[in-house]
């Protein structure tokens, strides 16, 4: 197999992996603090894509904002940066708040219930959100307008990287660095780590548990929303059930990396994306999920805690 094809598959895989990593962070953040799998997280991804889509179409609609504004926002570099900053901010904040509301209404009342209860509640929230979009928006897939200028840049032989792939990768890496610094260096990040180690003890030491949990439920969904918009821009459509498959895949990525571990989620996302691309490229497209899940099984057999997870001794 030609080297440039391999390079191209790596580029495809890393971009896909970046999106998985963003979603996986949402699963792992919530799990680290609540010991709960937030199955509604895939809907944060979906809802984020929709909010992003509506913000983008609103801001590029001459009837709403005037044709001068649209020309400014879409025709030059500064305008585009401004446009996408607004789109990502609005979607991130809106979905972050949605996450906080969901935590407050669907999970907090069950915080001391058996662990199965919030899980079921999460599945309920997921179904609710899917059907809300299905009923109120559309059952059909909506096209995501291609406002971002896509240019393919040759990097090696026939292999090329598009401006959109660069944009996604740079944003993902920036977000990962900021989040990692936030959790490891700031006071509130320390409170988050303390809560994840022992919620009750952290509470006794004066950490406001509710704030920490709310924060996890703000950051996770906000990152999911960002991934949702990337997904819309990259593949060109949004759909009410678009969250399901990436949700499962990213959850897998979080487990591969070691669920509860932030850097693990990032690593898991990239590993899964690259494996999928290589499997699709060098075996057959039908095998990409097979290979991805075989890797998951292997990781679980040889490193049950995940690649970067600590093997936790069962508390008696």
């Amino acid at each position: 197999m030609a080297l440039d094809t391999l390079m191209q598959q790596m580029v495809n895989g890393i971009t896909l992996g970046g999106m998985y990593a963003l979603i996986a962070l949402g699963y792992t953040l919530v799990y680290g603090i609540m010991l709960m799998i937030n199955f509604a997280h895939s809907e944060m991804f979906m809802a984020g894509a929709y909010v992003g889509l509506f913000t983008l179409t609103g801001l590029t609609n001459p009837k709403l904002v005037g044709s001068g504004t649209v020309a400014f926002l879409t025709k030059n570099g500064i305008g585009l940066v401004l446009l996408f900053t607004i789109v990502f901010l609005i979607a991130g904040v809106a979905i972050g708040l949605l996450g906080v509301i969901i935590e407050r209404t669907a999970y907090r009342p069950l915080r001391n219930a058996p662990r199965l209860a919030p899980l079921i509640s999460a599945i309920g929230v997921s179904i609710f959100l899917q059907n809300a979009v299905l009923l109120w928006v559309d059952s059909k897939a909506l096209p995501f307008p291609q406002v971002f200028p896509i240019v393919n840049i040759k990097i090696f032989g026939n292999a090329s990287i598009s401006t959109l792939q660069i944009f996604i990768l740079v944003s993902v890496v920036l977000i990962l660095i900021v989040l990692d610094t936030f959790v490891s260096k700031t006071r509130i990040g320390k409170a988050m780590r303390a809560t994840s180690q022992d919620r009750d003890a952290a509470g006794l030491m004066g950490v406001n548990i509710n704030t920490v949990i709310a924060l996890a439920f703000f950051i996770g969904p906000a990152l999911g929303a960002v991934a949702g918009i990337f997904n819309g821009m990259y593949y060109g459509t949004v759909n009410w059930n678009m969250g399901f498959l990436p949700g499962i895949k990213s959850f897998t990525a979080a487990v591969i990396g070691g669920i509860g571990n932030l850097r693990g989620a990032m690593l898991g996302g990239f590993v899964l994306g690259i494996i999928e691309s290589l499997a699709a490229g060098f075996l057959a497209t039908g095998y990409k999920d097979v290979v991805a899940f075989v890797i998951l099984i292997l990781v679980l057999i040889f490193r049950p805690g995940g690649l970067l997870g600590e093997s936790v001794v069962e508390k008696v």
Binding site: N158, A284, T285
Partner: protein
């Protein structure tokens, strides 16, 4: 909810349930009294519409519902239905383009005592398992859209379709591709459904037979969104055409990603791609020059096409006619005409009885009727005798019939 409120709520539910019981009870008694000969009004029977409404190829599925409902409105206003003392209603079952859900819908339909026939389903993968359920209940089923040959090869007497099959469509597409379009090397992709796989197989066989070269064959999923790795693979083989056996949802994404990835050759597919939604999802610039074959002739070339278009626009001013609106109109009309014939044999009240249902099936088999989509008659397997296939191309952001 407080206890008092809850009780109030309960009593409302109870009243509603009672009303519902009385209403359905009335319906049943009307039927029986009419059967006894004391006519108290027309008998109401139901046509089941089985189509993807919320998931899958919903643009096509919603079109099937529109077409069938329009046919029912027209038939209820017609003199022949009034003379026979029958009014038609419809019930829609959302099969979500999913075989399992389709079988659930089929079971619901089969347990409906008022049902006289099913206009559905869209996807071959749904129609095939659903047809077995209808066969057990002796209910006639006419698909306006399922093109996989296997559907009518099961030897089921109750199964018909008004669309041309893939063993006609696939080769016709390959003939046009190698002939008029002068394509020599194709990469074939399918969506792993019976429809997509079958169509892609038929296309590939004929393409090779006509001297073309198949550079590769890949299977994807019908709900896949990421084709980037596949695109890289296709690019390396350097084809002059990509053939996709599948439906527009995933197909449009493949077309877009092919063009984004620098594979600047047209994509071609079957009737599953032939919808405006394909162009919207792929982006008009990416879809430009893509091809799709579809069953039958374009509406504009059919004698009844203009009348149908006018009527459609009056009933659904906000919708465009999709690939199967007219076929569904015809499929529903064929069922209803057969019900009227059966009513003439076993009386209107007994069309839903076992003998009535058998009479409907034999009446459908004997259909000889000119509908919107042309002359409709069925061969011994239940396939339409209308074998026309049209090649369409995306030009200026719309599908138009391809002219060399």
């Amino acid at each position: 909810m407080s206890m008092g409120k809850f009780k109030k709520y309960l009593s409302v539910v109870a009243v509603l349930a009672a009303v519902a019981l009385v209403v359905t009870g009335c319906g049943a008694s009307t039927t029986t009294t009419t059967g006894g000969g004391t006519s108290t009004g027309p008998v109401s029977v139901t046509i089941g519409i089985g189509a993807p409404i919320t998931q899958g190829a919903t643009a096509l599925g919603l079109g099937m519902e529109r077409g069938a409902k329009l046919a029912i409105t027209d038939m209820n206003a017609s003199a022949e239905a009034k003379a026979a003392g029958i009014t038609f209603t419809s019930t829609t079952g959302d099969d979500q383009g999913d075989p399992k859900t389709g079988v659930n819908v089929a079971n619901q339909f089969a347990s409906n005592p008022n049902l006289v026939g099913v206009m559905g389903h869209l996807n071959s993968g749904v129609s095939i398992p659903a047809s077995a359920v209808y066969s057990r209940a002796n209910i006639v089923m006419i698909s306006p859209a399922s093109t996989n040959p296997a559907l009518t090869l099961q030897g089921l007497k109750n199964v018909f379709r008004v669309c041309t099959i893939d063993s006609v469509q696939g080769p016709a597409a390959a003939d046009r591709a190698t002939g008029d379009l002068g394509k020599k090397a194709v990469f074939i992709v399918d969506d792993s459904t019976p429809y997509g796989t079958g169509l892609a197989d038929e296309f590939g066989k004929e393409f090779t037979a006509k001297g073309g070269k198949v550079l590769g064959r890949e299977k994807t999923g019908d709900k896949d969104t990421d084709f980037k790795a596949l695109v890289t693979k296709i690019k390396a083989t350097n084809p002059d055409l990509v053939y996709y056996g599948g439906v527009y949802n995933a197909g449009a994404l493949l077309s877009k990603q092919l063009k984004d990835g620098g594979v600047k050759v047209p994509m071609m597919g079957g009737d599953g791609l032939y919808d405006g939604q394909y162009i919207k999802l792929a982006g008009a610039a990416n879809a430009e020059g893509d091809f799709a074959t579809s069953v039958g002739l374009p509406l504009a070339q059919l004698p009844a096409g203009e009348k149908f278009t006018t009527e459609f626009k009056a009933a659904y001013p906000n919708d465009e006619i999709a690939a199967y609106d007219a076929y569904s109109y015809d499929a529903a009309t064929v069922i209803m005409k057969a019900v009227l014939v059966a009513a003439g044999k076993v009386t209107a009240a007994k069309v839903t009885s076992p003998e009535g249902r058998a009479a409907i099936i034999s009446a459908v088999a004997a259909t000889n009727y000119t509908g919107i989509t042309g002359a409709i008659a069925f061969d011994a397997k239940g396939d339409t005798t209308n074998k026309a296939i049209t090649l369409y191309v995306v030009k200026g952001g719309v599908w138009i019939p391809f002219v060399k």
